[in-house]
Symmetry: C2
Subunit: 751 residues, 2 copies
Amino acid sequence: MRRTPAPPAAHPARTGALRTRIPLSWSVGFTKSPATPPRRFIPAAVPGAVQLDWARAEGWQDHFIGDNWKQYRWMEDVWWRYRATFDRPKLARGQRLFFVSKGIDYQFVIFINGAPVHEQEGMFTPVAIDITPFRADAIEILVMPAPKSFPEPDNRSQANQSCKPAVSYGWDFHPRLIPLGIWDETYLELRPAAHLDRPDLTYALNDTFDEARVSLCASVALPVRKGGNARGLRGCALRWKIVGPDGRAVFRRRVAAAPGAAVLSATVRNPRLWWPHDQGDQPLYTSVLELVGPGGAVIDAMEQRFGIRRVRLVMQPDAWSEPAVFPKTRSVPPITFEINGRRIFCKGSNWVSPDVFPGAITAGTHRALLEMVKKANMNMLRSWGGAIVQKDSFFELCDELGIMVWQEFPLSCNRYEGTHAYLRVLEQEARSIIRRIRHHPCLVIWCGGNELFNEWSGMTDQDYAFRLLNLVCYQLDRDRPFIPTAPLMGMAHGGYTFADRDGGEVYQVFRNAANTAYSECGCVATCSAAWLRRIVPEEDLEALDNASQPETEAGKALLRRVQWTQVPRYFPEARSLEELVERSQLLQAEGLKCIFEEARRQKPHCSLVLNWVLNEPCPRIVNCSIIGWPAEPKKACYAAGLSCRPVLSSARVPKFTWQPGERFEAEFWLLNDAPEAVPAGRVSAVLRFGGDEIAMGTWAHDGAAANTNLRGPALYAALPDDAAGLFELVLQYEGRPEWDSTYVFLARKNS
Amino acid sequence: MRRTPAPPAAHPARTGALRTRIPLSWSVGFTKSPATPPRRFIPAAVPGAVQLDWARAEGWQDHFIGDNWKQYRWMEDVWWRYRATFDRPKLARGQRLFFVSKGIDYQFVIFINGAPVHEQEGMFTPVAIDITPFRADAIEILVMPAPKSFPEPDNRSQANQSCKPAVSYGWDFHPRLIPLGIWDETYLELRPAAHLDRPDLTYALNDTFDEARVSLCASVALPVRKGGNARGLRGCALRWKIVGPDGRAVFRRRVAAAPGAAVLSATVRNPRLWWPHDQGDQPLYTSVLELVGPGGAVIDAMEQRFGIRRVRLVMQPDAWSEPAVFPKTRSVPPITFEINGRRIFCKGSNWVSPDVFPGAITAGTHRALLEMVKKANMNMLRSWGGAIVQKDSFFELCDELGIMVWQEFPLSCNRYEGTHAYLRVLEQEARSIIRRIRHHPCLVIWCGGNELFNEWSGMTDQDYAFRLLNLVCYQLDRDRPFIPTAPLMGMAHGGYTFADRDGGEVYQVFRNAANTAYSECGCVATCSAAWLRRIVPEEDLEALDNASQPETEAGKALLRRVQWTQVPRYFPEARSLEELVERSQLLQAEGLKCIFEEARRQKPHCSLVLNWVLNEPCPRIVNCSIIGWPAEPKKACYAAGLSCRPVLSSARVPKFTWQPGERFEAEFWLLNDAPEAVPAGRVSAVLRFGGDEIAMGTWAHDGAAANTNLRGPALYAALPDDAAGLFELVLQYEGRPEWDSTYVFLARKNS
């Protein structure tokens, strides 16, 4: 499963008509001191990570097999030096040579022909250096050791004074492996003397959604010359057009180019609005800005795709009436998303980095996972603050697929103290992140990070980090909601297992909860048997086959993990690896269906449910992920897809295990998150034991309004006296089989 | 009680050696259009209000008598024009003439010799205009009608698009009377050509509190001259010293003066720390900045007094452990104040403007009230967001008296929509407010305003107003805590009566509450009988004397107000006005004692209790105020003072009314908010019926640690079978009578 690096491109690639990209061929080596050169250089894949380069050069096995990850530990603490030499490109008159990198991880110095020209801390701030004056033919990048606020012990708190995602420092679902190196596109670029800086595009949509005012802040970069630069733009113009989703220009404008920033305004009437995929279309507009020379030739051009929609956080309709009595506290904060004036029930999942090494993530990685998300009827992903802010392709695909993104800044489960040094980097990184992705319509909220107002983080609303992030978001992207962390008052995280230690199952736990949003919740399952056999040493796997206690530490640890799945509790007879996997994935699937549908039944008080977690950064023996690495859906992914259908018949059932002869009960529901009403209809319920069926009854309802659920009657049926093993509750929607639902339960005598 | 305006000063007053103030003599008139001049000018008191001027000129009775306030209604909707003519002062060489006003309420245009020179919206932003070039001898100020976001009906929501305090638009304790006019010091000032701008002083105290780094951002203003200004400062110097509380300089520095801002730094070692009065001293430092000419003469000077202390909001010690189970929400936000590393139990009151007309408030008004606050052992005032940010003397006195100030921005009980126009004024006003008062050590927190996250306001954390206030506070005053509103999660407001509609008394209501802070809570009482007779028309007062239902609307309204006091419920026999007043003030006093002491018993989970409300803007028939207008303490003020003693013996009693023969119960407590431990001691409890006493027992305790309460045993005693009327529970602390406590209860047969 190791990735083969893309071969270094030998020839300049044209990325457009006006700028020429020159790829670089890199090698890398390490030293124990920044002053001494590496003794050995090996080929480096860029983008990539020094760890991947080294493992490749040494022919190591994958890091996710057994405890191979441990052999990477020393790589955190050395200095890595990247080197690229190249033939000095011939420049046309006035042409400039830039060194461009979209991301270098994490703290580094760039040398041109041996001279330091740029120092930076922060992987999210791109680099673009005009190196024309250096007459360069060599670039080196010295990457510092991984940042740590203390040298030991190894744990995530070492990340509490940096903007390096904390997950790499070790997490329950992530090995300790701290990526370092060039992680995003990096190249030389030939640019015209006068060229465009990336323009800032913003827009405001009016309350009737029939007019968008678009603003573009454009500026032209000119090489510094004595006596000023105005001469360099004489006769030049800025030409701006907005191209609609159908490819036709909806706006054109031309102004004289001048040094400094120009703010251009456009009005788009009756814009086609962007919607999440379950609510409407995803029309996208393109802003094209051109710098035009005196003769009419296009000197430089920049394109940016964007979508037009309004997003707000609005109050749950019942929230203002609480609390009712004195002494009276505040009402819960809003967490209902409203898109283009319509309240949306958000259902989806938490997104973590799909690879331990961000440099290994490609648009293909994103596409494979995001298409599964859409297929699972999920309309939102929470891009979790423990991980990186994804590369551009993630947001581009979410724009196209109609998946809303909840984006967190890289803070998670730590106390990030507001020191001067930390806040300086946080502000720089936050500004870079916001500028890079704020034009994406999929992006619906900024969040300061994960679980920071809980005990294990120990931060509060008073911490400077949140006050600063709120400030930066307000300045750069005021119209997008901002929250300091999740969960906030009313919202909740957890649980993460089908049944908790006290035996409380998801059926009771979520029935008794009354939160406004479940931004993390889920159940664990194992990965596939094939993956288990690959990543777990054979001798450890034997622990599962033996009925008795395993003897090795590794075997015991494995058994503890399996116990999280609850399979031993419900299916003590399951013994083969295949059966274990199947049972664990069944419990995860049924648990998730319960959670998703119960959260939906609590609408409109509740308006959001995101399971922990969609994916994983490498194969994990047992994890809450519903898609195993790299993109293998578990049973729960399909199950969640059924529970997230805009319309479905649903049952509220109090528990999983039933006694033979016991009276089974289920409450009928019709769940409707669609923007259309559901007409009157009939649903029948049937219990299935192998080939036998017990009819429970039929519910004839009068129809449900758009975006509104319907609660039906409770139905009962006596289970057969000889009921044993799994059985199904099937809801059949007359004439609409696509709204049918099936739930699995267990009949078992009390032991 | 009407104030006599200070006579306009006829001669220039020297406010220092270097600047000369020239008072102005004003007149004012109104018109129905901004274009036409007033037909009549009357003398104007400055500072003051146009309403007070008009009432004085017309010989009106006080606005707080009966419904006299109604006759002021038209004054909101006209244009007021202030006029001052003066002899053109002779200027020395280079000297400048400034027009200075610390506050004009609310929207206005300033004309110099008939020409408009300055337009402004906002009463908190001072004005300083160099009018030298105008060769002026007349100043006019056109004050616009009161701002309203809609013309009718008259209510507080009309203030929801302005920074005008909403209370003036009508409140349960405030008549509809919207002040307009010049409300703070306003004069002409002769300044040297080069003069100092008000410097910005900030400091940071280290974690061991033994070193303060003070920064002063100083800049010199110079009249604009062709060819630059550098020449004007040649040979000049800035001389800075910091004078300690004992009058001796602890730091001196001199730097060459230059145009633009200079940042000077000082280190104060072992600074004497400022404390609230119940925790330590109030040492104050003075920063003296001088602009010195080439010959050594002092050209201009500025002084600023400040105190050195650190303030933080820290978590309640038990808060991290909650919530305990999944799904798990956030922990409550911190609301425990820590001064210089020490947790402080904050007890005090809510401060509202001590006069309907801010222009009528003087340092004397502030001193009279604030000395009562200190005497009542209160260490904090919440300067409520419905009202104005007080004039400087309020903060100066709080610095001196050791009273912490919780300052709110002027937002209260409205939905302040974040329109461009509103946010512009809000930002300007917030910046002015912060710059004016941030050097005061008494100021311990910024709060966005009152009850904005509750139903009656309808705002949320997402509203731009709060995001902007966070931004401005972070930029200008980062080290002082900021909260968007009160109450927040965990905190609470209310109740406001001795017993609620369902009969729940403060004894049960607050015993059952478990809030982290009670930032508003209280009980109503009537004003004194003398005030009642003065402000209530005689025929209405009769309604109280007649046992039967009053016949007039006014009489009915009066009776409803009296019913809030609960006197008719507990003392149906009270009939004389004097007895009614006494009983109502008794219930308020006993209710407040219960609330204060119960909140203290809930320490450390609870760390703050502020009664609603300390004072009032004019005499009110029935109000929660514990000091009647202008400065008449009610019984509750003395009672609160007893309950706020740093150390006291206290009793938790379940109710107010007892049956004859019933078993009376009380739980012993020793409350200690002092920074010192209380040694072992003995407390006895006695019930007193007239001359009779029933001993309830004695509690011998082992002592209480500093800032820590002690919970003692519950004691019981059978009440006499003939018990009737009021009786007392007296706690006697052996050898420390200043820690004794007395509570009053009622014995009464069930009717």
